[in-house]
Symmetry: C2
Subunit: 471 residues, 2 copies
């Protein structure tokens, strides 16, 4: 029998080091500091040079000014309290509910019994069928509910897929750089290899097939067993929306090298320039054009209710659709559960729905272009026109003195810039180094979700002062 | 450039084998068959010897007859559709809402802004504070919201903790047998070691310190680095409720061997005999009695809104509280997000709340004792009195001929018995081998959630016929 232990069993060195490594990429000093500033302002502290904190660092529409879409929330209120359905007159006459809201709720309850019950393993069958119907309308090709898996947001779907794909330390996944850090963090936890490929800033952050091939060949030479390629379209953090030609070249490459395609398409309704092309539709067109050639390709495409005009991050709803997977592999894919609602059309709620949807879309577009206009006035800042998602990802060229000052603080130059921006204006953005960027370049990512456009002027003012100070 | 690949990239042999292994333990042929029977009945098929399927295999109260508690659902409906708060008169006069429901919803919205927004990393601070207040009332000891982490059900909390604890293939976790398969499945995915210890059926499935020590020493001799001990109290699948003496001996053992305590206490309000003792309260009492001796112990205790009288499985809400963890380790623990509601008292909704709560509690208790009485009439079946959780876990002794018939089908004898029970009566229970049981013993787990008690008679009838057939 040993004696009393003087210290806890767990310490930072003996816990799972994969988790420790993964965490470094995800947690941000800037976000923590912005919350401290927010708390200071809430206490009435007046010694900060700004009177509000603008969280342009995360795509969290409803934390800012975006109002939820009435239809979804009315339906959800009835699912939560089905006793309200005993008072349809009151709902219709006094509370602004429409008959289609009531019908939708009744139908969903008839399918899931109670939102308080565990649902079937891959989700409520009728909701999977609604997703399939949506995909058929979107793509003009059939979709089979049996291959649709509801998940708690797209993140948990990504996590499931990576858990299945990564068999050992040697399993590699091609991931775009810059990328949303979910991918690098999940791969770190799984102790698998992230094979980075650079997006082409000169072509509005499109995919660069030569860059993909180079990364793939380099990893192959190092003995990495690359199994899949991730594409985020529209892009996070880049805001890019891929042309069909880029998607075709990625599919052709996946065919040649026998790679699984993972298409992260959660921003598919946030497209401000051109139109969205889904990987599924493009793959199906290529299969029609050259019968047999692309039949064995495996595609997993993901979507979510967190983004788009819906913006219901807190509700954690999403799905992924599998195409071409081996049935035994598909049977192994862990089943996630969630409730997704889908949109009405041509019914009594449609007018308000459409009005709310367009107002959100137009607000985002307006702010995106206001930010872009501001960046184009700023010395040393370059940024492509807004295309999609919720983000802009400008390049910044900073004077050598700024880089020296950053190094003296032990920071990268982009971190240094973002920290000064936060301290001077209360605007919180994310340094490009958090997503990955080419050696020698600097960027930051900003959302265009924060209400109003007057804060954009504060960025211009700060930038000028910063450049003057370090020139 | 290689040529077109004739088969998909992924097959059952090249995906993550840890997932493949884990899945075998979780998926059940019985559950799949019971769903086929249910679909057959729904189609009006009349060739089955029963007219309904009774799902006594999973603790899913609202899939059966349990109604959600009005207070929680009224509050949730207002959180989903805050515009309803503009019509308080209608809510109060026509829809049966009380003022405390409205106040609770207003307060929660003031704290989280929108249920459609991502919340702070470890949960909305005010909700964590409500959990801390609940723990103080429950235990009579302080609780600090800073060490409470909201999670998507207790399962995701368990998963987080195991991810942190398991550093390599050699990391071991003591897990009770029988156990809820979440633990073995998660450890399989993490490729860590499950160190099983047997519960003492002769002492109403209490903990047996000698059995724990033997398992621990055996694992140590095999070079396993055992880091934690899991206790499920009240038990799943056993239905046991541990006396304080058992908890004290486990805490003392954890002190001696420097193990982290993981107390899975999701059934804490489902106690039908004696009272619930939380690990936190017992640990705090031991710390008071022998100052200094237990100060370095690490305890993680978990709770959920899925069980108890609330039964909101589909809402995926839970928390875990950490006591005594190294701050650097705690900082590494991944933050999960969820919304938990807590119960009102002495306010306008309390009467209905209390009535609903007691009616659920009494219904469960009545069915538990009806099942227990049935088991005591059945030849070769032994079962301790109902103590807690939602389960009974009787021992069954089957004739040798039954074991032979089972072997001829390639099944264990308990699987064979459960399959025949399902086919004869439509009642779906889980064989003891799904949870682990001592070599040479047979059990099954049944919930007592299904409405009515007449189905209990069908088990008696089936059992008699089964015994007569194989005697």
């Amino acid at each position: 029998m040993s004696t009393a232990a003087p210290t806890p069993r767990l310490n930072i060195d003996n816990i799972n080091q994969n988790v420790v490594r993964a965490q470094y990429a995800v947690r941000g000093e800037l976000a923590v500091k912005s919350e401290l500033f927010r708390a200071k302002l809430a206490r009435g502290d007046a010694d900060l040079p700004f009177n509000q904190v603008i969280s342009a660092n995360i795509g969290n529409p409803q934390q800012l000014d975006q109002k939820p879409i009435t239809f979804f929330r009315q339906v959800a209120s009835l699912l939560e309290n089905p006793k309200l359905l005993e008072h349809q007159d009151v709902l219709l006459k006094s509370l602004g509910y429409q008959t289609d809201v009531i019908e939708r709720a009744q139908w969903l309850l008839s399918q899931c019994q109670s939102v308080g019950a565990y649902s079937a393993s891959a989700g409520v069958p009728a909701i999977k069928q609604s997703v399939a119907n949506f995909l058929e309308r979107r793509d003009g090709f059939p979709a089979d509910a049996a291959h649709i898996y509801l998940s708690g947001g797209a993140s948990s779907g990504v996590n499931t897929l990576l858990n299945i794909l990564c068999a050992d330390k040697n399993s590699g996944i091609l991931v775009p750089i810059p990328q949303y850090p979910l991918y690098t963090a999940s791969l770190a936890v799984l102790d698998a290899v992230c094979v980075p490929y650079y997006l082409d800033e000169a072509r509005l952050w499109g995919t660069d097939l030569e860059a993909i091939k180079t990364s793939y060949e380099k990893a192959k030479a190092e003995g990495v067993d690359t199994r899949a390629i991730v594409i985020i379209n529209p892009g996070n953090p880049t805001g890019a929306s891929l042309p069909e030609a880029d998607i075709r070249s990625v599919i052709e490459f996946a065919r040649q090298e026998n790679l699984v395609l993972i298409a992260d398409e959660v921003y598919q309704t946030n497209v401000f320039s051109g139109e969205f092309h889904s990987f599924k539709a493009v793959l199906r067109r290529m299969q029609q054009e050259q019968p047999g050639t692309y039949d064995h390709l495996e595609l997993a495409s993901l979507h979510s209710i967190s983004k788009g005009m819906v913006g219901e991050c807190g509700h954690r709803g999403g799905y992924f659709e599998l195409v071409g997977f081996n049935p035994l592999v598909e049977a192994e894919i862990y089943k996630f559960v969630s409730i997704t609602l889908c949109a009405p059309e041509g019914e009594p709620s449609y007018e308000l729905y459409n009005q709310e949807y367009n107002s959100i879309f137009n607000g985002l577009k307006e702010r995106a272009f206001a930010l872009h206009a501001a960046f184009s006035q700023m010395e040393g800042v370059e940024c492509g026109e807004p295309q999609g998602s919720m983000y802009l990802f400008p390049t910044i060229k900073l004077p050598a003195k700024a880089a020296e000052a950053a190094a003296a603080e032990g920071r990268t130059a982009d971190e240094f810039y973002c920290m000064r921006l936060l301290e001077a204006t209360g605007i919180c953005v994310v340094p490009g180094s958090g997503f990955g960027q080419r050696e020698g370049t600097l960027h930051f990512r900003t959302t265009f979700l924060a209400p109003g456009t007057e804060w954009v002027g504060n960025i211009i003012k700060f930038h000028k002062e910063f450049m003057d100070q370090y020139r």
